[in-house]
Amino acid sequence: MQFIKSIFSELLGLFVDDGNLALQVLGLIVIVALAVRLGGLMPLAGAGLLLLGCIVILALSLRRMLRR
């Protein structure tokens, strides 16, 4: 059981390392998707926003590491 648990926790770790970074990326994608589907934002503008958002989120995550 412990072995299976460790495998699942490592599988989760494939996508989540810094929990804040993962949550912020998911939040960004949801917000952009809602803005495109419901808010009338042009899909290409949404995609650009996604790129910009990912850069900001990465920078914030690195800054958090620097402050620790």
Binding site: F3, S6, I7, E10, L11, L14, F15, V16, D17, D18, L21, A22, V25, L26, I29, V32, A33, V36, R37, P43, L44, G46, A47, L50, L51, C54, I55, I57, L58, A59, S61, L62, M65, L66
Partner: protein
């Protein structure tokens, strides 16, 4: 199918798989040299068998998912996966965290297995260590192959990239017979993190209905932007670490 789609897919799958296969190889070699090749190969083939079963069960299900949904979901997972690699590669390149050391990983595994030598279940535990390493690294390879290949119906090309990586690592490993510590892992992770994040942003955008200018060439443009940002980040963090050391 254009070269502009094939090359990034093949390269991303190959480079990412090299990193994963090298890590699995280190553990399997530690098991083989500490115990014997029997538990090492038993664990390895059991894990590969389980991976094949998982691919055969879940692979056909992907064909049932509409392309737009698939691009969005796979794109999201790739952004998560790629940014995790990219972040860690930036932190390692700037000296903020230690580089991954295959020699150290090998020594740690060898040490753990040596301590278990007196245990009746030593061979079983060694086999499980090999099984776990191959399964986990294999799952990452399978995910990368599916993720970079599926959205443009090029799973077989991504699969070829992964297979080439496995063959290359095993051939080199068979010749040198020690952990492949000279592989520039962080450089590879840096490149793969950039590629996977670029693929992820591209496909999530396509999943949202965006028609990227220049089609697949946009992946390259996204990659260049992320590369510039990452290099600036490494440089800034290098400077900060240097200042902290000087104080």
């Amino acid at each position: 199918m254009h070269l502009t789609s094939i090359l990034p897919t093949l390269t991303a799958a190959f480079l990412a798989s090299v990193v994963e296969v090298v890590e699995a190889f280190t553990i399997v070699l530690a098991v083989a040299l500490t115990r014997s090749w029997r538990p090492a190969l038993t664990g390895t083939f059991a894990a590969l068998g389980l991976l094949v079963v998982l691919v055969l069960i879940f692979g056909p299900l992907f064909a049932l998912i509409p392309l737009g949904v698939m691009q969005f979901v796979v794109g999201t997972l790739l952004v998560l996966f790629g940014m995790r690699w990219l972040r860690k590669a930036i932190l390692r390149a700037s000296g903020f965290i230690a580089l991954h050391d295959e020699e150290a990983a090998f020594a740690k595994e060898t040490d753990a297995l040596t301590k278990l030598a007196a245990d009746k279940r030593a061979d079983w535990l060694a086999g499980m260590a090999a099984f776990k390493a191959v399964l986990l690294e294999g799952v990452e390879v399978v995910f990368i192959v599916i993720a970079v290949g599926t959205a443009h119906h090029m799973t077989w090309i991504a699969g070829l990239g992964a297979l080439a990586a496995a063959v290359a690592v095993l051939l080199v490993g068979a010749v040198v017979h020690k952990p492949l510590s000279t592989v520039p892992e962080n450089t590879l992770k840096f490149a793969v993190g950039l590629m996977l994040t670029s693929f992820g942003i591209f496909w999530t955008g396509e999943g949202l209905g965006a028609a990227w200018p220049g089609a697949d060439l946009s992946i390259l443009a996204i990659l260049v932007i992320l590369l510039i940002v990452s290099l600036v980040a490494v440089s800034v963090m290098n400077g900060t670490c240097g200042r902290q050391e000087a104080v």
